[in-house]
């Protein structure tokens, strides 16, 4: 059992394996999932239209690029989270891994950009791998394992830096370019994210590994009986999530010019929100990279509109974000239940 994500509610409580989906209900779930993704896209378009209509500065290239760039690192994290959630798991450690990668990259930055990148992403990947092994081989629940990693990694990075930021050594290295450079008119972080999403989409759709991710999320037992190496799939997804969090951490540190031990705080929750809003099911098996992209953009644009409005205090923004998230999941839940009248008996 992966994590306590369900309630004591009959019958469609979303617990993996519990629902015998046959007949109308499964079909409706798929329809609803499609609708969810289109739904989020519709809302995104609506919000963008609102932005264009109400704020003159919304549709400017600077603002749009700004939105993209500000959300690019969270976008990387959300990409990794999507893959993990597709297998029916969850990764609460990504926020801490962002900080770890940033600090490690800063530490190694004297040796050049490549060294920083490799070190930062490498350490984060190793930690993600640890998560995966504990989950797949030792069979501990993902919620707990990644929670523990989150606590431990944060502790380690706070301890190692004595809670102070670690400056990046920028002389002669290309590291700043990673965070602040521009290539073909686009900020480098945005390019990185775009490539990552494209690669992710292709991998999930066109590789056997990608299909096995969906299979494991659908039903671990079935996947195993059908001959898949479930352990390997699980470990790879957590390692990937770590790697992407690491990449986000290095890029963030490059941008800030320092590795901050408090970086990434709360990013795991933001990433989960983006994935959920986008329409991927928390129980796994349905959804994808495209959905998360829409989710990230939607949340990013809303935040941008708040800023453009200027008069909304951070506190009210939080209230509105909470309410928005609630609204989205209620609608999604309605969609999932609206169809399907059970199977023939």
């Amino acid at each position: 059992m992966s994590r306590p994500s369900t309630a004591g509610v009959p019958p469609d409580n979303g617990r993996p394996g519990r629902v015998r989906a046959a007949g109308a209900r499964a079909f409706s779930t798929r329809t609803a999932a499609v609708l969810q993704r289109q739904g989020a896209l519709v809302v995104l378009i609506a919000v963008c239209v609102l932005g264009v209509v109400r704020y003159g500065s919304f549709a400017t290239p600077e603002n749009l690029l700004n939105v993209l760039r500000q959300n690019s690192m969270l976008g990387l994290v959300a990409l990794g989270m999507t893959v993990v959630i597709l297998t029916g798991g969850i990764d609460l450690s990504v926020g801490s891994l962002v900080a770890v990668a940033g600090v490690v990259a800063a530490k190694v930055s004297g040796s050049g950009m490549i060294a920083s990148l490799v070190a930062g992403v490498g350490v984060a990947t190793a930690l993600g791998l640890t998560n995966g092994v504990l989950i797949a081989k030792v069979r501990l629940p993902p919620f707990i394992v990644t929670l523990a990693m989150m606590i431990a990694a944060r502790g380690a990075v706070l301890g190692a830096t004595a809670e102070a930021s670690l400056r990046m050594n920028r002389t002669g290295s290309g590291i700043t370019w990673l965070g602040r450079g521009v290539f073909a008119g686009l900020p480098v972080p945005v390019l990185i994210v775009a490539c990552a999403y494209a690669a992710g989409w292709l991998a999930l759709r066109y590789t056997r590994w990608g299909r096995s991710v969906y299979a494991v999320g659908d039903s671990q037992d079935a996947a195993r009986l059908l001959g898949l190496n479930v352990d390997r799939v699980l470990i790879s997804t957590y390692a990937l999530s770590g790697a992407l969090a690491g990449l986000a951490g290095v890029v963030l540190a490059a941008r800030l010019g320092a590795g901050q031990p408090v970086a990434g705080t709360g990013w795991e929750l933001d990433a989960i929100a983006a994935v959920v809003v986008g329409g991927t099911l928390l129980t796994g098996g349905l959804g994808g990279v495209g959905s998360t992209l829409v989710g990230i953009l939607l949340l990013g644009v809303i935040f941008n509109l708040f800023n453009l409005q200027g008069t909304i205090t951070p506190w009210w923004q939080w209230i509105m974000r909470g309410a928005f998230l609630l609204g989205v999941v209620v609608v999604q839940s309605r969609l999932q239940r609206g169809f399907g009248h059970g199977q023939p008996r």
């Binding site: 519990r18 015998r20 989906a21 046959a22 007949g23 109308a24 209900r25 499964a26 079909f27 779930t29 798929r30 292709l202 759709r205 066109y206 590789t207 056997r208 299909r211 096995s212 969906y214 299979a215 659908d218 039903s219 037992d221 079935a222 996947a223 195993r224 009986l225 059908l226 001959g227 898949l228 190496n229 098996g285 349905l286 009248h341 059970g342 023939p344 008996r345």
Partner: protein, 516 residues
Amino acid sequence: MTGEPRLRMEGIVKRFAGARALDGVDFELRAGEIHALVGENGAGKSTLVKIMTGAYHRDAGAMWLDAEPVHFDTPADAQAAGIVAVHQEIQLLRYRTVAENIHLGREPRRWGVIDWTRMRRDTELLLSGLGLEIDPDATLGVLSTAQQQMVAIARGLSIGATVLILDEPTSSLAEREVAILYDLMRRLRAGGTALVYISHRFDELYAVCDRVTVLRDGVRVATASLSELDRPDLVCLMLGKSRDALRQGTTAFLTPPDADGRAPAAPLLRAERLQRGQKLRSVSLEVRTGEIVGLAGLLGSGRTETARALSGVDPADTGAVYLRERRLDPRTPDQAIEAGIAFLSEDRKAEGIIPELSVRENLTLAALPTSTRFGIVSRARQVAIVDRFMARLGIKATGPDQKIRELSGGNQQKVLLARLLCTSPALLILDEPTRGIDIGAKAEIQTLIDELAGSGLGVLMISSELEELVEGSSRVVVLRDGRDVASLAHADLSEDAIIHAMAEGSALAPLPPSAA
């Protein structure tokens, strides 16, 4: 080549926590045969199958496939060697398409990436080659259970299965679908595939299997050709009893008392034109005190919907329910329980047992409102109730505190029945009460139902096993397409009559139920 041993197992031993699930079992499967594997629950059938398919490792013994010694570490290994099992609970991916399910792990690739067009085409060819009309792009979860099973079999064959194991494949199939399955099986047999067939249903075994191996208590008791073994002999081998000890007929039901023409008992339940959604169109029926009324029908005819409407689980949209001639209309399960209607779901795993809780806690769950004062549970009263029922129903457990998930299916069912009885019901609505239970426990439950009816309870019993209905019921109501189409009195009751009513009963106008 037909007749050659395809799979041979010798001296297989498997232990679990000290107990021997399999104690030196031999098994031989020939190419081009359908070989039945029978035995009560706990006899070792599923353990043997799991060793065949690599899901378990054997502790001792040897296995040969086509005369080559083999050892499987994982199901993947067994599949690679050509041994594929299709389980009772469909183990496929419900959100993925038929094509994806069939090709999982072996998706065709072009230049390193998955070739979706070729996958679809290959699937079309495979399915049509087997005579199956299933859309490769259909999401698996949309298909009926029968179709899903076909897909599972098709997948096995596309992997190149030479040994196909079918575990209780027909438990959720309608007759029409069973025929399709048999057809496929016979075709496979003709082509040289070796099939292992596990089932509790004798009709099926005799209809389609060639030989049978009987397991009992982890030991192989006999292997014989089914043409040389009649049913009572087979049952005796399974139970380890002699022929004289068997009751007449194949169930434990005694002749219902109503059959001798006593004065009809008081009316207990009356349902008039129950309707809910599309599945339940208009069902009217009656149950009297002391009566066992059977509810028959094909898959999808609305039997379970009727039961769930009467017990407040999925309440009816229109129609009326009368209990002892007073209008009731239960809208929630607790309303029904309070009124004296108790419901046993057909799926005890999903809707019956609370797996982590003990036997005691499961048993007393429904009676909590009456065994508490100001919300506080009376421990003494609970202990008394539990002891009484465990003794009366013969529930086998290490103690009332054992976790219910550790009990066998039959004992779990008894706990659930005890749970219902704790609420002092007047009417029992039982949905497939003996499904998936071994013969011994089945008989005990059937006897219990008899006794309960004899003591004045009314029983509405859904069963897909016609002999249970014929032997156990005073009357059988037959449903078709959500309507009641016939009510067969005991004198008119026979398996043929029920089948005829299921097939021919008019779907347009409901016939008035004949007086009992």
